[in-house]
């Protein structure tokens, strides 16, 4: 079997995991909020993108941007009204609240749009196959690899190399100290939350071609988001990136050679990786 196409396929499936999970790493890792409604924002974004393309006839890329903005705006409203009250609540309260929010989102979408799966109409240039010179491969997989890579670089620069990123990390590590240094933590968290949710929306749109899009999306993929984020290590965008790629490629290869295993591999892999490094693969051990 052709190793290059296996590698490309694996990378692409890892990129899908990364793109849909990275937003969760931002909210859960940086802000320390157990946001199980992450998939809900991804789903709302996916719907915004699909419906905008269908009803207003706008292109795929502008629709992605629109999805980001719309969901980010919605999430700020929810953050100020609901999430902000629970920042200091116990994790169980956060879990219960966000799971409840997922049910509300699922029911709203079912009622408003219907239970059926929505299909993303990709532009022609993203369909079919692309000739890379040495191999022909699925265009959309290549596009996913490119956009995932671009995303991780942008996020890494944003959180590790800007003063905005430094302020977020400071606020997470010691909220009171950051506040006394003049950081407006409330506003900072609102902005971070908006970015995380916007990223979820883009993930919902980009991943829909592979993962599908229907009202059960948030709960169906919740386990995937959590696996990737916990294996990657909380709050580490690059860690999530490597974890997603590692799981994606291994899962893909195992599925080709042992299809009988079905969807079990991703769970087995997560289990083994977490037994080996419980804090996540790419977190430095506490000293």
């Amino acid at each position: 079997m052709d190793p290059v196409s296996i590698l490309l396929g694996g990378l692409a499936s890892g990129m899908v995991l990364f793109i849909v999970s990275v937003g969760l790493s931002v909210t859960m890792g940086l802000m320390g909020f157990v946001n199980l409604a992450h998939g809900g924002f991804a789903m709302l974004g996916g719907y915004a993108i699909v419906l905008a393309m269908r009803h207003w006839g706008i292109g795929f890329l502008p629709a992605l941007a629109l999805g980001f903005v719309a969901v980010a705006a919605l999430s700020v409203v929810l953050e100020r009204l609901l999430y902000a009250r629970l920042y200091r609540a116990s994790e169980l309260d956060q879990v219960l609240f966000t799971i409840g929010l997922v049910f509300v989102m699922t029911a709203t979408v079912t009622l408003g749009v219907g239970p059926e799966t929505q299909v993303v109409q990709l532009p022609d240039w993203l369909r079919g196959q692309t000739d890379l010179g040495f191999i022909k491969y699925r265009t959309y997989s290549l596009a996913l690899i490119a956009s995932g890579t671009a995303l991780v670089i942008a996020l890494w620069l944003g959180f590790e190399r800007t003063s905005f990123g430094a302020r977020i990390r400071a606020a997470v590590d010691n909220r009171r100290m950051a506040q006394s240094l003049g950081v407006d933590v409330g506003r900072l968290f609102a902005v971070t939350f908006a970015i995380g949710s916007g990223l979820a929306a883009v993930g919902g749109g980009l991943g829909a071609e592979i993962l599908g899009l229907d009202p059960n999306y948030p709960l169906r993929y919740l386990v995937y988001f959590l696996i990737v984020v916990s294996v990657g290590g909380l709050g580490r965008v690059t860690g999530v990136f490597y974890a997603a790629l590692l799981i994606g490629v291994l899962d893909f290869v195992l599925k080709i050679y042992f299809p009988k295993g079905g969807t079990i591999f991703i769970y087995v892999l997560a289990l083994l990786l977490l037994l080996w490094r419980p804090q996540g693969l790419f977190v430095k051990r506490a000293t």
Binding site: P115, R127, L211, R220, K260, G262
Partner: protein
């Protein structure tokens, strides 16, 4: 005490007379996934039921029916079993029907036997389900109907020598694999690989499985997945991996071409060949009436598919039972009434095999073509009065 007894007796007498006069209400328990991953299927069957009642208001004679719906949620069978239990114990229904997923029907069959309730299956297609209870009659299909016919047709019509089979890993998937293999290899072909492709609960990324199939270079790639979203993803992956250009023909049962998803599959689906017992483009008067009424009630964008017509036919079977038994449902008499029942359905002539209580119907070999700006099913040939070959050949658990 004495007065009470007389009153009771009088009431009992009255109710007997009332039944004779036609006031008896027959309670029908419908078990379908109204929520969760199968919600669309549940909707199809439910709309089929409604359409039958609307188009055939006199089919039940003077007898009243009451429909009690229960949600079977997940395809595991557990919730369906709970629902059936409730319907029998609390609602005291006379007839059970619905059952989208095979595990739902498999888990519920023992309850139907114990409580002696006729169970009219409107979908669940695993071949051996009908052997699980003498109370079962199936108006839908067995996996063998399409898969076995497709195995024969691949060798005969397309001169295929080798095939790879990809299937969703649950009972009907394995059934479809066995049936295709039996039909194909008996006609001179050879199945060179069989790939389980995840379960029915969620649509997997088909890329690794299809890549494996592509590398085996078969003449035909036979795919069985649950109808609906799985089917759309299959078509996408097949095209995206360039399997058509590699000369591999994608074939399958009509689950691959669900009528209500057809237009969203895009032009890439043109040329896809399937075999099935129904498609919305079938050319007969009853089907035209059925589709027209459906579109009027549920919107021009909604199209009945095989599950819709199975809900319709299931209701026709139940109407036959209700009117034959004059509104008083005795389980054995009901099943006997269904044995040999014949009906002119939107899918063509159907009947219930008196021996196996399974359906006998036509299979239509169809090709997707573009006509008038939309995708339509072009009939390539009809195989008349196909029985469930699993039970005819006494295969495995069908003995």
């Amino acid at each position: 005490m004495k007065i009470r007894l007389t009153r009771l007796f009088a009431a009992a007498l009255l109710s007997v007379f009332a039944a004779g006069a036609g006031a008896q209400t027959v309670k029908i328990g419908v078990v379908l996934p109204y929520s969760g991953v199968g919600a669309e299927f549940g909707q199809q069957v439910d709309r089929g039921i409604q359409t039958f009642i609307k188009l055939n208001p006199n089919a039940f004679g003077p007898y009243k029916i009451e429909i009690v719906k229960r949600d079977s949620k997940n395809p595991s069978g557990a919730e369906a079993r709970t629902a059936v239990q409730e319907l029998i114990v609390q609602e005291k229904v006379d007839i059970l029907t619905g059952f989208i997923y095979s595990p739902d029907a498999i888990a519920s069959a023992p309850l139907a036997t114990e409580a002696k309730k006729p169970m009219v299956i409107m979908n669940a297609g695993t071949a051996w389900i009908t052997t699980l209870s003498p109370m079962i009659a199936r108006v839908s299909f067995s996996m063998w109907h399409a898969a076995h016919s497709m195995g024969e047709a691949s060798a005969k019509n397309f001169k295929a020598k080798t095939a790879v089979v990809g299937y969703s890993d649950f009972p009907p998937g394995k059934d479809s694999l066995d049936a295709f293999k039996r039909g194909f290899e008996a006609t001179g072909g050879k199945v060179i690989d069989a790939i389980p492709m995840g379960g029915p609960g969620q649509v997997p990324d088909f890329t690794p499985f299809f890549q494996r199939a592509k590398d085996k270079k078969p003449d035909v790639f036979y795919v069985f997945v649950p109808s609906g979203d799985h089917a759309v993803a299959v078509m996408k992956t097949y095209n995206a991996l360039g399997m058509r250009q590699a000369g591999i023909r994608l074939i399958g049962p009509g689950d691959l071409t669900p009528d209500h998803k057809l237009q969203s599959m895009g032009d890439e689906a043109v040329g896809l060949v399937t075999i099935f017992h129904y498609n919305a483009d079938l050319d007969n008067a009853h089907n035209k009436r059925f589709v027209a009424s459906w579109k009027k009630d549920f919107g021009a964008n909604s199209t009945p598919d095989f599950m819709g017509v199975q809900g319709y036919d299931g209701m026709a079977a139940i109407a036959h039972v209700v009117s034959t038994l004059k509104g008083r449902i005795d389980a054995d008499a009901a099943i006997n009434a269904l044995r040999g029942w014949k009906y002119d359905s939107p899918r063509g002539p159907i009947s219930i095999d008196p021996r196996t209580r399974d359906i006998v119907m036509n299979e239509y070999l169809s090709e997707l073509v573009k006509s008038g700006g939309r995708l339509v099913q072009k009939n390539l040939g009809t195989i008349n009065a196909v029985k469930d070959m699993c039970k005819e050949l006494q295969e495995g658990r069908c003995k």
